[in-house]
């Protein structure tokens, strides 16, 4: 039964993800005084891509062919690791929903992303593959520092266990290090969604997604979905640890709906930051902005170490 719910969780996320993307695009257009596309535009895009024919670069190898599916698997598995429709009591799945599993699935995603970029031999793809790796280098340690506080505070790496603790209130915002960590973690997760000032998710050939330059047709459609799913996952990661209120509802379907709504809200809110911030070159951007996140996370860690 757990697996059925899990499938439901996944499929529903896939279904609504383009919608959130559409809303945020619409909203951004409004900010920029444009009419903008319909909020269902992302659905149309994906559908159109599915029907398109494909070309591929002469240099590509099997990686090019399998990478869309691999990327999708990673993103989907990551999303499955979020304990929304199941909880700590679900024996098999709670062995799966683990912080490090989630982080390393993300790493797998990144690995395949980079390799796929290099495989196309496209100069842009190569550069953006490099940037993808660099961003990973910057974000990972901040994320982990925040997570250390949580993991050590709760004594577990299991996501479902942590979120149940936070739900019960036996661990949570009363602990100063936890609340400080939440700020930094939100920041990191925002960076991971691939937006300004770190990236521009919907602009192909820009920064990270230059990797996708050589992809087209149905391959591209699958990658698109995978990326959307990943963006939702990283936001969900934040929610599951720091605002696991959706789990308070006993009915899994209901909590799923609440959860998706929360993600949608965060996703759309991201546009505000996205739209008003400047853009930097990657090194400058990282140095200027990630230092704050790092400082915040280190503060929370220091607080934890001192036992506050």
């Amino acid at each position: 039964m757990d697996f059925v719910y899990l499938l439901l969780q996944l499929v529903s996320a896939i279904v609504v993800a383009p919608l959130f993307d559409g809303i945020s695009r619409k909203l951004r257009a409004k900010f920029q005084s444009r009419i903008g596309p319909s909020i269902f535009q992302t659905y149309y895009d994906i559908y159109k891509l599915l029907k398109r024919g494909r070309t591929k670069s002469s240099s590509t190898s099997y990686i090019y062919q399998v990478s869309p599916y691999l990327l999708f698997i990673c993103a989907a598995a990551m999303f499955c690791a979020l304990p929304i429709t199941y909880g700590a009591q679900s024996a098999p799945l709670s062995q799966f929903s683990d912080i490090f599993v989630l982080l390393y699935l993300g790493a797998l995603f990144r690995f395949i992303f980079i390799v796929a970029g290099i495989d196309t031999a496209n100069p842009f793809a190569g550069v953006s593959a490099s940037r993808e790796g660099t961003i990973g280098f910057y974000t990972e340690e901040v994320a982990v520092i925040c997570l250390i506080v949580v993991m050590m505070g709760t004594g577990s790496t299991s996501l479902s266990y942590i979120s149940s603790l936070v739900q019960e209130g036996s661990y949570g915002y009363a602990v100063p290090s936890f609340s400080i960590a939440s700020t930094a973690f939100l920041w990191v997760m925002y960076v991971e969604t691939g937006r300004k000032p770190y990236d521009l998710a919907e602009a192909e050939q820009e920064l990270q997604e230059g990797v996708l330059g050589e992809f087209c047709g149905k391959d591209f459609a699958i990658i698109d979905i995978a990326i959307l799913l990943k963006q939702m996952t990283v936001l969900g990661f934040f929610l599951v640890i720091f605002m696991p209120w959706a789990g308070l509802v006993d009915n899994p379907i209901l909590s799923l709906i609440i959860f998706l709504a929360e993600i949608g809200f965060l996703y759309v809110m991201g546009v505000f930051i996205d739209n008003f911030g400047p853009r930097f070159t990657i090194n400058k951007g990282m140095k200027r902005t990630m230092l704050f996140a790092l400082a915040i996370s280190c503060t929370s860690l220091a607080l934890y170490i001192m036992g506050i």
Partner: protein, 646 residues
């Protein structure tokens, strides 16, 4: 047990006896090595629970006794198993070195090397341990010299020099321990009585002595130098198992000391530093073998993190941390042995096919060597600790150890364990970049230097077979993680105080795989339902902003790490050279990264010694009058010394 040792000795001698027929010797030597090591692996595996003792007959100095307990069995198994794969690989591979050295000697040294490692593990006496330890070092040095060539002797010297410094520390530590224990046999060393200062000093000496061999920071400088010089099968053995032998010795000896929590802190710090610096240099080097070699340093760091947790647990009497820490360390030792030897053998395949180690010259090799490429991909995933492979399994347990250790009260333990987690996570992020780069630059894209890649072709089946075997183990150890852990915990329980607790919430790898498989079905359903366009794919040149595509446009291994190099410029020292002659000519751009620790730590010492060595010649300038003067002056000095200070 003695049969195995004798067989290896005979194999070694036999291949040396075929000195005049090197090709036959190669077949016989490596063939025998693989058969014997397979037998040995089976033997050691089936005797995990037993303790075997064997005394060497005859009047040898200090009557060497050989003793294998469970841990020794495990490491012996590891050595012989990896040796099996590597010798199977060498069966064909060694021919590549036909012109450089006599293959009979190669095969003989190879057998002797395996034998020496097995004996080091089994030796139960300070004297015989040191003897075998140095012989192991020496044989490995000779194996490096099989690939004799430009700068070979200098490279070997760096290896031997660091090994010797380590061996001195090790010997001093062991002899002090033996003198305190009053015996030279390790098995009678129990309850050494000493204070904390002494214990930590000895521990540090052991760490330097064995860590230097294991490639720990800051002794890692020999890794890239020696492994790049080495034939790949030898580097596979060295990195795959010789390092593990050092770790085994480290675990064995450190357990004999009175335990303190500081041991854990020292190990965690050194482990964290090794991880980070190892992977940084692995990331920025342009030589794939150097990259793989540096990653040994990283992995040893990870193992040290696990051990750090374990020793912390022993020092603070919390057996659960000790248990999980040791399991983590042992599991990662096992995994590292598998994937590192695999990587080195793969690099051997690449090198024999292309004759270059420069990643900026390679590319697109997948089309020429598909199987090698796919195995490399699996291994790269494994070494990056990506689920669901074995690297992830062990690294997860390491993380688990750190987390459990960090829960403890007390700021220092929290500090060190948090530091370790941070280091490990940075390492994880950089490892992904490093190995995606290595894999991408070698196998994917378009060949950057067409000449190198043109001639390349897939290697023979006998070379692919062991690779496939090990690669399937990479997957297998990951999938059956819990079974491996339960075997390891049995072994670990023999060396730590008994603990009844065995409920540690481990992740379940099969479920991860199941979920992933489940997810993999979705896109196909999705494509089917929406009736995706499945027409033939049109092949074009890569898109290049409208310019005509040129293979030099793709990203190279150097430029790939450009951003990170800039970000880490305070840690990396590079030499950048841009040659520009004339507007229309080609720009030559070279960038070389130096090992900071070589320049800041080793080079000054070497320079100083050299300076003294240069200047000391004044003392001996050939003037007899002066020499006669020395005698008189020395007499006066000794008289003064003798009369006033004694």
């Amino acid at each position: 047990m003695q049969t195995i040792y004798t067989l290896f000795l005979l194999a070694s001698l036999l291949s040396l006896a075929l000195y005049k027929k090197p090709l036959l010797a190669q077949k016989v030597g490596f063939g025998l090595a693989s058969v014997i090591s397979l037998y040995a692996a089976v033997f050691f595996f089936s005797n995990f629970d037993e303790t075997l003792i064997w005394k060497l007959p005859g009047n040898f100095i200090s009557l060497p006794q050989f003793r294998l307990d469970s841990v020794g069995m495990f490491f012996s198994f590891l050595v012989s198993f990896i040796a099996f794969a590597v010798s199977l690989f060498s069966f064909d591979y060694a021919k590549f070195y036909e012109k450089k050295a006599n293959l009979a000697v190669f095969a003989s040294l190879f057998n002797a090397f395996i034998l020496s490692m097995l004996l080091v593990i089994a030796s139960d006496n300070v004297f015989s341990f040191m003897l075998l330890w140095e012989i192991m070092t020496l044989i490995s040095a000779l194996l490096i010299l099989i690939n004799d060539g430009e700068g070979a002797s200098k490279n070997v010297m760096i290896y031997l020099g660091i090994a010797q410094i380590g061996a001195s520390c090790l010997m001093v530590a062991l002899i002090i321990m033996a003198s305190i224990a009053g015996t030279f046999e390790f098995s009678k060393f129990d309850h050494l009585e000493m204070g904390m200062g002494m214990s930590i000093t000895l521990f540090s000496l052991l760490l330097i002595g064995l860590g230097s061999k294991a490639g720990m920071f800051p002794f890692h400088v020999w890794l890239p130098i020696a492994y790049c010089q080495c034939p790949s099968n030898a580097s596979a053995l060295m990195s795959g198992v010789m390092i593990k032998v050092a770790l085994f010795a480290f675990i064995k000896f450190s357990l004999l000391l009175p335990q303190f929590a500081y041991f854990g802190y020292i190990l965690l710090t050194m482990g964290a530093l090794s991880c980070i610096f190892g992977i940084i240099y692995a990331l920025v080097s342009n030589d794939y073998k150097a990259s793989i070699a540096y990653s040994s340093c990283e992995n040893v760091g990870i193992i040290f993190l696990g051990l750090g947790g374990a020793f912390y647990g022993l020092g603070t009497n919390s057996p659960i941390i000790a248990l999980i820490g040791f399991i983590a360390a042992f599991f990662h030792i096992l995994n590292h042995a598998v994937f590192k030897s695999l990587l080195f053998m793969l690099s051997g395949n690449v090198f024999t096919a292309t004759n270059t180690r420069d990643m900026d010259a390679l590319g697109g090799l997948h089309k020429k060597m598909p199987i090698t490429s796919i195995i490399f991909f699996v291994t790269a995933l494994s070494i990056c600790a990506l689920p669901p492979l074995n690297g992830f399994a062990s690294e997860w347990i390491v993380y688990k150890t750190m987390v459990i250790g960090g829960i403890e009260e007390g700021a220092s333990s929290r500090f060190f364990f948090s530091l370790a987690i941070i280091a490990l996570s940075i390492t994880g992020a950089m490892a992904i970049m490093a190995f995606s780069k290595v894999y991408g630059a070698i196998f994917l894209g378009v060949a950057r230097d067409t000449k190198c890649v043109e001639e390349a072709k897939e290697v023979s089946f006998s070379r692919l077979l062991p690779l496939g075997l090990l690669a399937s183990l990479c997957v297998g150890f990951g999938l059956f993680m819990n079974d491996v852990v339960s075997i390891l915990s049995k072994i670990v329980l023999t060396i730590i105080p008994q603990t009844s607790v065995s409920t540690y919430g481990f992740i379940s790898m099969p479920i991860i795989v199941m979920v992933m498989v489940l997810c993999s079905i979705l896109p196909f359903i999705f494509l089917y339902l929406l009736k995706a366009n499945n027409k033939e794919v049109r092949v074009t040149d890569p898109w290049a902003c409208g310019f005509i595509y040129n293979k030099n446009m793709q990203i190279g291994s150097n430029s790939f790490t450009g951003d990170i190099r800039k970000a880490l410029s305070f840690l990396l020292k590079h030499e950048q050279e841009i040659k520009l002659d004339g507007y229309f000519s080609k720009v030559v751009y070279t960038k070389k990264t130096h090992d900071l620790f070589w320049e800041k730590l080793y080079a000054p010492v070497i320079d100083m010694v050299m300076l003294i060595a240069d200047k000391i010649g004044i003392f001996q300038n050939g003037r007899t009058n002066l020499y006669a003067g020395y005698i008189l002056i020395y007499l006066c000095l000794v008289l003064i010394f003798g009369y006033y200070y004694l």
